[in-house]
């Protein structure tokens, strides 16, 4: 399993208050109900808190799917 995947799954489950959510690298807004602009900000903030990283607006504009978010987390933590 990909590094950070499990922890990020938990972030998604907390934000969307749904313990059955499963994410893959190709997961997008189409796959998760209520993943709109508002919950996206909640998700970004929760990701920052969970991984102790800072995510900028420019970082967010580079995200197409969960895979991009996992890569961003890895870049922030591992340099």
């Amino acid at each position: 399993m990909e590094k950070y995947h499990e922890q990020l799954t938990q972030v998604f489950r907390n934000v969307f208050q749904n313990n059955s959510i499963e994410i893959t690298r190709s997961t997008t807004a189409v796959d998760i109900d209520q993943w709109d602009s508002i919950t996206h900000l909640d998700l970004i903030t929760a990701t920052e808190e969970a991984f102790k990283i800072e995510i900028t607006g420019f970082d967010v504009m580079g995200l197409k799917n969960v895979g991009d978010l996992l890569d961003l987390i890895a870049r922030k933590l591992e340099g």
Binding site: S37, I38, D59
Partner: protein, 207 residues
């Protein structure tokens, strides 16, 4: 003479004005001025800075705009982009807003938006989205929108898209009538629980 061009970096100031003008018809339940509790003039500098980004696929970047020039003067513009091509457009807009405003302001603006979630209409993947349609007041009634709508259809063909979507405020009957004239049909209505007979209308056209 009317000329249609893809927007360039130098158009950011004009496009920022268009975005805020597009939301000042008086029929809006939600708008950036309402979300941020600021006037158009107060928001303009932040929007000029914010839309100066190189992403595409959402209305908060100059890259998604077609500009209509009348005798060399920028006069009208619309945002056109393929939904989902560069990620979800709403998520990209969240990122853009984070570059223009501090996190607390964006969270507070979204708090306002959340109160009107009942009128939200989901954009269909791989459709061409038309957004932020406006003409500077002094250039209205000169056929600029007609040319921009034609250019949008051309762009849809280039992007291999066979459907165009536009969201309009229900009370903005003049806009609905104009889009009907261009061949758009009403396919969905989301009436607000709080604002009586107003809400969002989804209009589409098959290409």
């Amino acid at each position: 003479m009317i000329t249609i061009k893809q927007a360039e970096k130098k158009d950011c100031s004009f496009i920022a004005k268009i975005i805020l003008l597009a939301e000042s018809t008086g029929y809006e339940i939600t708008s950036y001025t309402k979300m941020f509790g600021k006037t158009m003039d107060e928001l303009l500098p932040a929007f000029e800075k914010m839309i100066d980004n190189e992403t595409d696929g959402h209305p908060l970047t100059y890259k998604s705009y077609l500009v209509a020039y009348l005798d060399g003067e920028p006069a009208s513009a619309i945002s056109v982009y393929k939904e989902g091509e560069n990620g979800d457009s709403n998520h990209l807009m969240t990122g853009a807003l984070m570059t223009g405003f501090d996190r607390k302001s964006v969270a507070s603006a979204f708090g306002f938006l959340k109160n009107h979630n009942d009128i939200s209409i989901q954009k269909k993947q791989n459709t061409l989205q038309i957004d932020c349609v406006a003409t500077l007041p002094e250039f209205r009634g000169k056929g600029l929108l007609k040319e921009l709508m034609k250019a949008a259809e051309e762009k849809a063909k280039q992007l291999h898209v066979n459907e165009i979507e536009i969201q309009v405020w229900k009370k903005n009957e003049a806009a609905v009538a104009v889009y009907e004239k261009y061949g758009y049909k009403i396919v969905q209505e989301m009436i607000s629980n709080k604002e009586g007979r107003n809400g969002k209308i989804l209009m589409t056209k098959k290409i």
